[in-house]
Amino acid sequence: MTVLQSLNSGGMYLICGAIVAFIAVVCVVFMIRAWRMGKALGMDTTRMKRAITASATFSVLPSVGILLGVLALSGSLGVPWPWLRLSVIGALHYETQVADAAAEQLGISLGDGQMTLQAFSTIALLMSICIMWGMILSTLFNRRYLARLQKGGPAEGKKSGGFGDRAMAAMFIGMVSAYIGSYVGGYISGSGLFSFAGSWTPLAVVAVSALVMAAFIYFSEKKGMAWLDNFSIAGSMLCGMLAAVLIGH
């Protein structure tokens, strides 16, 4: 049995499926409680139904985009694990980057055929640990934080959003720069200082992916096709990956 076959085995589906099912039950419980509370508060059920319908229709397209993310990761991590990660907690950009960082610590690259079972379980654990802080903070501070905001008005929420948003964008800029720098460095000096003999495929993939993202943004922002934004990351990634296949031939 190959590594990928093991990662797509029935046992994997069972473990991942059980967790997805648990989260689905949690969502149903929260939904029923909120619905009952809304009725007890005298809220119009038509408005509540409208909120549910709008949220369901709103979520279909992004969910298809997320499904494409499962497809993108399935070649290196199998189907069940990306399915679990992207069904609950994760997001495509986070999962891909953390999986790659974990692979790097093990001296392998994602999707290069060197994946071992231990490498996979290590990658899976790092993916789980790195993104758990939202849940931990929520568990420890949600109640107190909301109570403080109730007392102090909305000012605190605004204050957190000031430099916070810029810091997040800057952090991503730093992250992207490190990776693109490594692709440029790999091509120019990867096979000897200034030899220009390294692989240029990652650079071409970056360029194609960025161009497709530019097209997505152009159509969603300038041509009023905002729904396209739901597919921008997954769509750009798949086009970049397609470019790698064409270069490979």
């Binding site: 473990i15 809304g38 399915w83 964008a169 693109i180 943004i217």
Partner: protein
Amino acid sequence: MDKKAYDSYMKTTHRLGRLVSVITLILLVGAPFAIGALLGAMPDLGAVARGFLSVGLVWTVSSVVEFLVYTPMLGAGGSYLAFITGNLINMKIPCAMNAKELVDAKSGTAENEVISTLSIATSSLVTILVLALGVLLLLPLQPVLQSPVLAPAFGNVVPALFGAMAYKYYRKAPLLSLAPLTVMVLLFILVPSLTSSTSFMIIPSGALAIGLSYLAYRKQKGAGI
């Protein structure tokens, strides 16, 4: 409004939210060990610790900011669910805001708490359903996905991600982006062995970008913009 019933609802929401968050944490961190036992290969904890030091810190900062910014928007029930089910920026936040605007619920009210919870729960269930159906459809495609022809595609999933993200983030601050990009390109050209530690290089690169962003922010604030 029945204030007593609402207070009791909120109390139970917090209890339930904390309980399911802890259970989900245990399940998600436990899953790699369960998988390790199933496949006969436990995780390499040393590699996990090194990986966490390189990328985990970045995502920890991101999680703190997300918690501070999004919790007031989503209310108690909505935020517990959102932090469990993920995909915040790309789906849950705009979805809840859309529902809130549609029914004209005001922030911080009991109505907002109910609408936000209904919205996030619905959105999560739709994602779970779409992905489950999609995975069922993917099953027969597995031989195709594992074919050698497609191997270069899966080998370049990370550059594909960073190409898309580069355009998305660089356009927000093109001048700010130039500095970390130039420094990183030069570093990787002059010290090619750093390629095997790319994720560690996120720390200096991110620190440089955040530092420059903070200076620009202070300058703008000082100018009263």
